[in-house]
């Protein structure tokens, strides 16, 4: 259903509730659980380890200060932190005018732009995490190519739907429809797998 099982989601919510009460051990546990995927996202969008680390630091400090305002009815903890990360990364892209550095095309498991400071995830990481990533990648790769491309542009790049339409040379209505259909299919297929 999500990037996490619902049992894990409950534990995530408990960690967030404890962080809201300034519990540093809960914060440390949540960092251990989420820093990998969030850093990977920041690296994919920024392509620069130092900037990705700064963005991740901003995100976790924001989680620390805003945990009490988290609303479980709006999103899972995982999705909330992903969207926070994306938002902080987009701020950086805008501030530094470095859209050209975004890497979109690759959905392979090979680390791109990894520098000395980064560590490729070790084989000891949980099978479950890799299963989940493989599952999402499988579903995404099996969407119609137009929908997949549009969704990837929308998610990983700082482009409005108008800019995506211009980039792809497609009418705005087509872009909106691709995003809608693609996300709905992604949701449905992830729920059913």
């Amino acid at each position: 259903m999500t990037g996490t099982s619902s049992a894990q989601e409950m534990l995530d919510q408990e960690m967030i509730a404890r962080i809201g009460r300034r519990d540093q051990s809960a914060f440390s546990a949540l960092y251990d659980r989420l820093s990998g995927p969030l850093y990977s996202l920041a690296m994919k969008m920024l392509g620069d380890p130092a900037e990705a680390q700064d963005a991740l630091q901003d995100v976790f400090l924001q989680i620390w200060s805003r945990a009490a305002t988290y609303h479980p009815e709006q999103s899972s903890v995982f999705s909330w932190t992903v969207l926070l990360t994306r938002s902080r990364v987009i701020d950086r892209l805008r501030a530094r005018g470095r859209r050209s550095r975004v890497v979109v095309a690759s959905t392979e498991e090979t680390p791109t732009g990894a520098a000395d400071a980064s560590t490729v995830e070790s084989a000891a990481d949980t099978v479950e995490k890799h299963d989940e990533a493989a599952r999402v990648r499988y579903v995404l790769n099996n969407l119609p190519s137009g929908q997949r491309e549009t969704i990837e542009l929308a998610f990983f790049e700082d482009l409005s739907h108008h800019e995506i339409a211009a980039r792809l040379g497609q009418p705005l209505g087509t872009v909106k429809a691709r995003i809608r259909r693609g996300l709905l299919k992604l949701r449905e297929r992830l729920n059913n797998l």
Binding site: Q13, S79, V120, E121, L140, F155, S160, H161, R180
Partner: protein
């Protein structure tokens, strides 16, 4: 029924692609439309999953140290610094020393009591009870709380809830056991509170739960659901 145009807006909103004006207009629509809110949540989950398609990397260990250092410093900043009086500067040290001795005695006593309790538990199944304190998550009221007394041996327990207002019509609260050996939470049944927001019931999860890490209460469709769908309102570990 959600129109195609609303679905378009929901997808763009979930991806953060609407402008500020469009965002505000759509949010006001969301407040009045539960079905649309549910769709947005699910689309957000789908969008959040896209992060997992990024090549898998870990940040350097030093980053965690940096962040933990930041929050520790922030925590120190909010602790008021007591004023000191030079002539009695030895007093706090004396109190600290006395407390240290006292804590040591308490620790020894605690170990002794734990051994006694373990002995009693070994012979009395009624003592094999674990307690879980459930704290509220938004949108539950901040004073809502629950305590679960769980007996793994009999696979049953008692929950007491307080300050949790009755759910809206068509909804029920449902209790879940989060077990280390089950991917999904195990339903322990629907829990109904009285007009004062209080409930005390016995429960038994629908499946065997031998390694319960936490209990949680979520808001679900009336009558309960086999697999958790709604938001968590209360959750807690031992």
């Amino acid at each position: 029924m959600i129109s195609e145009e609303q679905q378009d807006q929901a997808a763009l909103y979930a991806l953060g692609l609407l402008g500020a004006d469009e965002d505000a207009a759509f949010e006001s629509e969301l407040r009045a439309n539960i079905e649309l809110r549910d769709l947005v949540r699910e689309l957000r989950e789908a969008a959040g999953n896209l992060a997992l398609t990024a090549p898998s990397l870990l940040p350097p260990v030093s980053l965690k140290q940096r962040i933990m250092g930041e929050i520790a410093m922030e925590a120190k900043r909010v602790v008021p610094i007591p004023t000191r009086r030079a002539s009695f500067s030895w007093v706090p040290w004396a109190i600290a020393a006395a407390l240290a001795v006292f804590c040591g005695l308490l620790a020894v006593d605690r170990v002794r009591l734990e051994h006694q309790l373990a002995d009693i538990r070994a012979v009395d199944p009624l003592m094999q009870t674990t307690f879980y304190t459930l704290a509220p998550s938004a949108p539950a009221p901040t004073d809502a709380k629950a305590t679960v007394a769980w007996q793994p041996g009999s696979q049953s327990g008692v929950i007491r809830i307080s300050n949790l207002p009755a759910p809206e019509p068509g909804k029920d609260y449902q209790l879940w056991a989060v077990d280390a050996e089950h991917k999904d939470p195990i339903s322990a049944g629907v829990v109904r509170v009285d007009k004062d927001g209080v409930a005390q019931i016995r429960f038994k999860p629908v499946e065997k739960a031998e390694h319960v890490k936490a209990f949680a209460i979520s808001l679900e469709r009336e009558g309960g659901v086999p697999k958790k769908e709604g938001p968590i309102l209360l959750v807690g570990t031992i």
